[in-house]
């Protein structure tokens, strides 16, 4: 795969080292130096990852308890209470965002790969790229501005957060779905057409099943990317201490905003609040990592072998 294999093979490496001998020690020394520098830079880039996982685990465990998963924070001052309302909120907000984004994203990818042509196709390709660059806070402001027009100023709803997250999720879904649809070989489609299958049935019965594992993987990665978003929810779903599982009514808490809020307004019992913030961070990182690993497993286990 990589050309590094060339240097690994001793037979090929020898002539170059022969040529490099003699006056070439300077060049060899430079080669060594640069190799060490590059490897060192890679190691340096890995330090934050290691430190982050270590610190989040170490600081997150003290705050984890059964209460953390079963209690909400209503009327709680200092120790005790939990984040069940934030966990439920995270599931509802992310779930509704996925319900909006997955059909639109996958149908959009089907359009791009199976139907699209001309100006609409070019515009969609270009603007999906543009959408991937929208800052998450801007997506939040958009959702707020949209709902403010209809429901008046100061509105906060769970579904507003879902709309904001959809703006971030749709381009991720459509990009990954387009990639997997692209690698479904054309001879499968042609075989279906030769049997007289209509195009829509070919897509539903041949193309989508072939691409299924890739589609599921893409959706899971997209969910992992948005489940930890904080900024867009801070301006749309608000902060609340009690359980609310209705996205169309009232404020809704979520894990990332919960962690931020425990850090930002710890109250008198600082350490207890910080413990809860880290416990929420650990829960969040666990969800993200699980989704990522599961996505890889799904792909390995269920991908269709394409020859």
């Amino acid at each position: 795969m990589e050309s590094a294999t060339v240097t690994d093979s001793p037979a090929l490496a020898r002539p170059s080292s022969l040529l490099a001998s003699g006056a070439g020690w300077r060049r060899r020394a430079k080669d060594r130096l640069m190799t060490v520098l590059i490897a060192g830079a890679f190691a340096l880039a890995m330090i934050p990852l290691i430190s982050l996982v270590y610190e989040v685990t170490k600081r997150g465990i003290p705050g984890l308890s059964l209460d953390f998963f079963t209690e909400d924070a209503r009327g709680v001052v200092g120790e005790g209470g939990g984040a069940s309302h934030a966990i439920v909120g995270t599931l509802v907000i992310t779930g509704v965002a996925a319900l909006i984004s997955v059909p639109i994203g996958i149908m959009g990818a089907i359009y791009l790969n199976e139907y699209g042509q001309g100006r609409l196709r070019r515009a969609l390709t270009f603007f999906v790229d543009v959408m991937t660059g929208i800052p998450s806070i801007v997506a939040g402001l958009f959702a707020y501005a949209l709902f403010e027009v209809f429901f008046g100023p100061g509105i906060r709803l769970g579904v507003m957060g879902s709309v904001a997250l959809s703006v971030l999720m749709i381009p991720i879904v459509i990009r990954s779905a387009e990639e997997v649809l692209k690698i479904v070989p054309n001879h499968l489609r042609e075989a279906a057409y030769a049997l007289g299958t209509p195009k829509w049935k070919t897509i539903v019965k041949v193309v989508l099943p072939t691409a299924f594992a890739g589609l599921v993987t893409g959706v899971m990665i997209a969910i992992a990317r948005i489940v930890g978003e904080t900024a867009p929810l801070l301006v749309t779903t608000g902060v609340v201490d009690s359980m609310n599982s209705d996205p169309f009514h009232g404020r809704m808490q979520n894990l990332a905003v919960y962690a931020y809020n425990e850090y930002r307004s710890p109250g008198v019992f600082k350490q207890a609040a910080y413990d809860k913030a880290w416990a929420a961070a650990l829960t969040l990182i666990a969800i993200v990592m699980l989704l990522n690993v599961a996505a890889r497993l799904v792909y390995r286990r269920y991908k269709t072998e394409i020859r």
Binding site: L12, D31, A39, L44, L52, V130, P135, S166, P198, W200
Partner: protein, 317 residues
């Protein structure tokens, strides 16, 4: 591409032959796909339209009605400065590291473990920004305090390190470094893809002519990947410009416009300012914040479109 078109035509021909006109299922399904495509475009247009309509009152309002009693331009300018400064630090720190990491994975590490190493770098992108923020203020900030002191003592003559050094680490430099960690995987992934595609005839040719591995990298891999690295760096910059929570948590802000990277008095960024002020604002202050969001949207849009243009030109060549 043309292949798809011919099969499409064949399918339609067959359908036409057997059914007379296009079947109902085909019409419904293709319309649904078009509706999805149009919905996505409408959504993006909606982002622009609603930000403009809700931000507009702030552009025309008198200075006395706006937060801090300044005109909108005077209000947004220091924030835009802070945004660009933090992102510039992030890019300066991240790009060399990302290039090195990409080179290490594609051309130095044993191919057997290269895939795993690449996955580890990608994991950095999976971590939510709130966690970077907490890590920055509780771990990296305190750890950076002695370094900031040292910079003030030894390099204080450079305006960037003028000090007085912060005692908490909540400085522009630390915020920039955390942003750098966050954008590193994006830049590195794009560089990695380009480096791995360097034609083997070039890399092997260089080595056959007696080039050392570094010479081979310098003379074939780096020139080949140059434009990808540039566009990757710009995409990373775009991400850093809009990054909110890490900066909101880490940076201690005073509204000062200053290049001093290690002190307690820093300009805020547009995104962090929105996250800090929005929950407690009402009335025209909300419009002003949405208008700053529109400015941020415009800045990131220009950055990203420039990056895409570089990629498009390179694909064209």
């Amino acid at each position: 591409m043309s292949q798809v078109d011919t099969t499409t035509n064949a399918g339609q021909l067959l359908a036409a032959a057997s059914g007379g006109r296009r079947r109902l299922g085909d019409r419904v399904f293709s319309r649904t796909a078009v509706v999805a495509a149009v919905t996505i475009l409408a959504l993006l247009a909606g982002v622009a339209i609603f930000l403009i309509s809700e931000g507009y009152p702030a552009f025309t309002a008198a200075a006395s009605e706006l937060p801090e009693g300044k005109s909108f331009l005077d209000y947004v300018a220091p924030l835009a400065f802070g945004t660009v400064l933090a992102s510039a630090i992030a890019a300066v720190v991240a790009v060399p590291l990302a290039i090195a990491a990409a080179l290490f994975i594609t051309h130095i590490a044993p191919p057997k473990i290269a895939g795993t190493l690449g996955y580890l770098v990608d994991l950095l992108a999976a971590i939510p920004s709130i966690i970077y923020g907490l890590w920055g203020i509780f771990v990296l900030g305190p750890a950076a305090v002695p370094v900031l002191k040292w910079l003030e003592e030894k390099l204080g003559w450079i305006p960037l390190f003028e000090g007085p050094a912060s005692a908490t680490g909540r400085t522009m430099l630390v915020a920039g470094i955390v942003l750098a960690v966050m954008i590193l995987p994006i830049v590195s992934a794009i560089a990695r893809e380009a480096f791995a595609q360097t034609p083997r005839k070039l890399t092997e040719g260089a080595q056959a002519l007696g080039a050392t591995r570094w010479e081979m990298i310098r003379m074939t891999v780096l020139p080949f990947g140059k434009s990808s690295v540039i566009s990757g760096a710009m995409l990373g910059l775009g991400r850093a410009l809009g990054e909110t929570m890490a900066v909101t948590i880490i940076l201690s802000v005073s509204g000062a416009v200053s290049f001093n990277l290690i002190s307690q008095a820093n300009p805020s960024t547009i995104a962090a300012n929105i996250a800090l002020d929005f929950p407690e604002s009402s009335g025209l202050a909300i419009n002003a914040l949405i208008a700053t969001g529109l400015v941020l949207f415009a800045i990131t849009l220009v950055t990203n479109m420039a990056a895409r243009a570089v990629i498009a030109r390179q694909n064209h060549e």
